[in-house]
Assembly symmetry: C2
Homo-oligomer: 342 residues x 2
């Protein structure tokens, strides 16, 4: 089947090629009668005409494509989605984009890959970057006139739109919750604590909540590794080796909590009987697990939705206006915390 | 910063534009001296030249883009990745593509969306479709000269490459395993059983294993709903309502098993004490859960890797040769099965 071109549509509708182009691209500046518009659309439908979006993106610079970059902090790592947080977030991004006629260009970028070359080469209308740190890779993007939305990043720059949560406040909520339940010795279990990263903020929130309650922040209560299941299990074993000196833990990600619970079970210990846990994220998994996690709820679906809307909104506006969007947090009480009495 | 074009590179290297194009596109038919080639590459590097892939795809029809379509069986459904199987699979597809310089175009297509328009509009080099049924949408794709790889689909057609597993055999392995452990009454819990779908094959495997052992396939042992956590919990409640007449269950997906275990726990019942379970898929989650699942292992990472390699290999060949790839299955023994003695 030979593919119908724009000329065929023009011939079929009895109008000029530019009229077809105006109608199909909905160019707002041109005046086309409803009757002509109808004729063009019907002709396009009859001929099964599909515009070549790559060709279109060269002229109108619209590709209906949103780049989603998930920087890989460990090079060569395979499982972008081993943390279900990314799956939940990407589901929402994909769905929101789909409803608006956009597709996603997905890349788990490695540190040696240039964000800029992806943006340029693909002609994306907007870019969503999930969890990134300041750096040259990010700065390069400023050369482009494409909206960039940073999700869960503490990069502060007029050029970028941001969407995130108040990680420090969330950590305070979690830690205070445990203190209210009577716990005095509270472990802090997290991924690596990097400057300008979310774990640094959560660490600060934990420290502030402890300090305001007059409780010491003790070195042997701190566990810092990687944001994955495996590290959670390792931390649980280390917790036992260090003599089980805490009655509760604030764990900064649900995926780590999965590992902590499993690691404790391997040693005959139970959550919350032997260790109360408040987790963070509220991924779908956290209510499926046993015990279901008491956790800091963030609206992951809303985060994904807002990221797409921010990118599309910014792409449609001419002037540049930096938008910062912060989503609320709350504690969801489930089954991983017990009251503590000395 | 003005972006360097191919003409700038040609000028810088002191060669013609076509020579630059030959070198950068690695056109195998042209003879270019190593010295010229080196000069062009160095000039391109000096000028920070980045080819416009959209422009390239119009001429050479190579976009370095692979379309990944995940048909949504329930329209308007948000969570493409609520089943961790998709996250595990997509991780592997993304990683394999990334290592080869490809990006993914991701779409959770709805039944009313044409696969063809995505293939055409985006100029993808290959398409991977995960779990689809025969239909017009799929047939349309035959108009295109693009390799299509179907993952986990029982569509038999010379036009499509397929990669999958022997679902019926896997179900037999699972059911026989339970029979060997002494179980006689075995429930079958699965998603909807559709013609030419994987659940239909797993259902057939279950029936065959029961029959060959001289065991009856009883209607009240069959649970069929949706492939999700929620349905697993519902099935567990129904199991109790029906009077707990089975000592074991073959559950056709790990995500359903998560729900079954949780639903039983809500009623004070435990796996495997009150119900032995053999699951299917071996997603990462199945070893993190409590109890860890005894499950039919399929190599999800290898499935994703092979899907990409099949697509790229087919794209690089001129002649069309249908490739069918079947990955092996095995039982992984963990903690969800107990021996049964009457």
């Amino acid at each position: 089947m030979k593919r119908a071109g724009i000329k065929d549509v023009a011939k079929e509708a009895g109008v000029s090629v530019s009229t077809v182009s105006y109608v199909l691209n909905r160019t707002p500046t041109e005046t086309i009668s409803p009757e002509t518009s109808r004729r063009v659309l019907e002709a396009a439908k009859r001929l099964n005409y599909v515009p070549n979006l790559n060709a279109r993106s060269l002229s109108s610079r619209r590709s209906n494509l949103i780049g989603v970059l998930i920087p890989q902090t460990e090079p060569g790592r395979e499982l972008v989605f081993s943390n279900p947080f990314y799956g939940d977030l990407l589901s929402s991004i994909e769905y929101t984009a789909r409803q608006r006629g956009y597709h996603l260009l997905l890349s788990g970028t490695q540190e040696d890959q240039s964000y800029l070359s992806i943006a340029r080469n693909r002609g994306v209308d907007g870019i969503i970057i999930i969890g990134t740190y300041p750096g040259e890779n990010l700065n390069e993007l400023k050369q482009m006139d494409i909206p960039v939305v940073l999700v869960d990043s503490y990069v502060k720059d007029e050029y970028f739109h941001t969407i995130g949560i108040e990680d420090k406040e969330g950590a305070k909520l979690a830690t205070r919750y445990l203190i209210e339940k009577g716990h005095r010795r509270i472990a802090f279990i997290s991924g690596s604590i990097r400057e300008n990263g979310v774990n640094m903020k959560r660490w600060q929130g934990y420290c502030e909540a402890m300090t305001e309650a007059g409780l010491p922040v003790e070195e042997d209560a701190i566990y810092s590794g990687t944001v994955d299941y495996e590290y959670g299990a390792i931390a649980a074993h280390e917790f036992v080796e260090r003599g089980r000196r805490q009655s509760a833990a604030f764990v900064t990600a649900d995926i780590i909590t999965m590992g902590v619970i499993k690691g404790l079970m391997e040693q005959g210990l139970r959550v919350p009987r032997d260790l109360s846990v408040v987790s963070f994220d509220d991924v779908n998994l956290s209510q499926m697990a046993y015990p279901a996690f008491t956790t800091v709820h963030q609206d992951i679906a809303e985060k994904g939705r807002q990221a797409v809307l921010l990118a599309l909104d910014a792409a449609s506006r001419k002037e540049r206006r930096h938008t910062e969007c912060i989503l609320p947090l709350s504690i969801v009480e489930r089954d991983s915390v017990m009251e503590w009495r000395e």
